[in-house]
Symmetry: C2
Amino acid sequence: MSSTPSRRLNIDNVNPHVREAKYAVRGELAVRSEEYRVKLARGDTDLPFKEVISANIGNPQQLDQKPITFIRQVLSLVENPKLLEHEDVLLNQLGYKTDVIARAKWLLSKIGSVGAYSASNGAPAIRQSVADFLERRDGFPANQADIYLSGGASSGVNTLLHVICEGPKTGILVPIPQYPLYTASLSVLNATCVPYYLDETKNWATDLSAIKKACADAKAEGVDVRAIVIINPGNPTGASLSEEDVCSVIKFASEEGLVLMADEVYQTNVFSGEFHSFKKGLRLLQKENPGKYDHVELASLHSVSKGMVGECGHRGGFFEVCGFDPKVQAEIYKFVSITLCAPVIAQCCVELMVNPPQPGEPSFELYDKEYNGIYNGLKERAYALWRAFEKMEGVECGEPQGSMYLFPTINLPAKAIEAAKAEGRSPDEFYCLKMLEATGVCVVPGNGFGQHEGTFHFRTTFLAPGTEWVGSIISFHENFMKEYR
Amino acid sequence: MSSTPSRRLNIDNVNPHVREAKYAVRGELAVRSEEYRVKLARGDTDLPFKEVISANIGNPQQLDQKPITFIRQVLSLVENPKLLEHEDVLLNQLGYKTDVIARAKWLLSKIGSVGAYSASNGAPAIRQSVADFLERRDGFPANQADIYLSGGASSGVNTLLHVICEGPKTGILVPIPQYPLYTASLSVLNATCVPYYLDETKNWATDLSAIKKACADAKAEGVDVRAIVIINPGNPTGASLSEEDVCSVIKFASEEGLVLMADEVYQTNVFSGEFHSFKKGLRLLQKENPGKYDHVELASLHSVSKGMVGECGHRGGFFEVCGFDPKVQAEIYKFVSITLCAPVIAQCCVELMVNPPQPGEPSFELYDKEYNGIYNGLKERAYALWRAFEKMEGVECGEPQGSMYLFPTINLPAKAIEAAKAEGRSPDEFYCLKMLEATGVCVVPGNGFGQHEGTFHFRTTFLAPGTEWVGSIISFHENFMKEYR
């Protein structure tokens, strides 16, 4: 008698590198919060809150952020070019401006149809627009052939890590705390993550001595450290690098022969100081020291997902490479070819982000008002949340700097740490789960981003409107401390 | 004196698995054809043709295929929901129908904004729509929890192979000729491709004895063969499996413990016979043999890229899994979470594909006319091209069956094979390059898909309108044979 056949795939024989990957931003708490949302939607009243607040993910338009009118008007026309047969209706009855119509016509003349594949690295005209933007931003030339349009920055990171990582011994320096895309992708690729810690005592500044030590230690263990990731402004920390810090990191990368990967998706979410791009830093160093930095390889990434554009659902982004060997670029091209091209409507969205209406153009006034409104709203909410944290016992949080997140330390009492242990959870996970159960606010435990042993944090976005949810966190925290103090 | 520092990355130290991957559909010939296109666009007159025809890639809307009005109207409204404040203008002046408006409102009520991330596996309401479609198509239930919306089918294949492949010894049976996504993805993943040959003498039918032999041979070499890919209808061959063939493959997979991966993206591009889904085949077998096939795991893929929808630039698709272990599904969910979600506007496009206007609804008449017009146009062109091949010396091609391609054999004279060798090219590559240089028509050599040793083919789409380009292939072939006969 033969045994009953069983399934071929089980948790023990799937790809071990996928199994080992962790991605807490959409992990257990996020899944639980979706269950609560379903319960509330069907009218259940047994939860102690009326609304789920997804503060676990930088998803601006899921919360309060409205899309920018100019962008959506153009996209509606490239989706349905037949509307362009009715210019008078668009202009006189639907609030479209002449520059919206002109941009849609221009895009369509370059891409043909948003329903057609583009070149694997993106539509040439859109890559040229990106190059022009980078040139304006940095004051140095950019070449469209070095630009790759991607499905969000995540897909760009995936491409770059795929090409860079030669094998299990390849090491990539990754800041801790970090956005878990990096550790998860390195796990899937079976390469080595070499963590370097940001300096919490200096509001999460990039600490060159920590990078040097991490790099040297890894090399001593036989790791082929070949790239360094910098998230600037930081996720989850919001910290922006000064021009000096940017240049020190480039100098270090130059000495050590490291490829620079600058994740600059929060470049417009800066509340204190200003954004300094790695591209500009590199070109300045090259200008001041002829020949000395010509061998430095930099890949910098940007996206339509964050900032005032906030169009993450469209999955648009790009990266630029500087100093790469043409044969390596050919490998990048081949790799992106395998999945054909980034969504073409998302490529259009990238174009609209990098080439917005200018003063004097018909759409400028509304665009400018919307853009500044979003910026100021984010800043206000960041400070409101920060002030709330300032008042909470055992919670420490630096002043908001940038990105869409705050990443406070929570000093948890011993009793809470024990209770967590009894449940088989890390203390920060335990705290965040209790918060979700009590308030419906979903945040991400610090261990999803990495933190020093024995310290506990959580990451929360400050995207949600209103103050009620902030109040609910305050009262939850008071009750939690009462119970476990 | 220290040596000049050099770049860190070069062709010899990048990821060897990326380096070894081949993807001919967008390879050298495609790049060359783009150069010709640029030359023609700037007015150069030294080429022997006036137009480049991209017959290398199934990109319907780059050529003649027009988008379906219903789809694009709805998408324009979800991109710019403010248009919904002007229903009278939409209805009375812009040709929108009430069902277009209703659908856009419904989608927006479910997804919020297309600028927001959805759940990692796709918006629940859209997954439900897909499940309803599968249920109507197959006559068996489908569960939205088993459906994953993806960025085109390519991204779905990437996800599935990532989870299934445990290591270098994992073998996946892949039909030859095949769409190179499979071999390229397996190369990048460093897993083993186990080729099985389709039977050209039976118009590229799936030959179970060839599958059995390939599987047994690989197992004998220590390969852990754990999945079989079936492309139905075939790419590049167009061959559709009969219901009997579908069931034989399922039975074999059941006996051998193989996961079935059914690539069904051409399911509506069928000109002879009809499409039989693997899902239906599996459920029928399960119904007729209670308990016997319950352990079979099937993943089937579909996309908005092909068929009469042809919206490949949007990068929308989905896959359904049947019989998978919930813990394995959790790994799939985690993997797709790392890149957040498929483009939300593409998810909407999937919804519109699976849930088109029905008879009696306001948009039906136009939709039906457009859909049938595209179908009939493709069929006519396929036959026109086939008839041309029939007349060409040394060219053999089966009658068109499905997909968007013909894959003729070319019997190349010895002199041509020598000339190719002298240039360091395979004979089919040599032939296709000569065709491109003479006619501007870009096709893909058979070696990009795989073919029996010593046989030569090329793949061409039959998407391009008109007959002039077909005529130019005929005269090129005559001249080629004159020169090398």
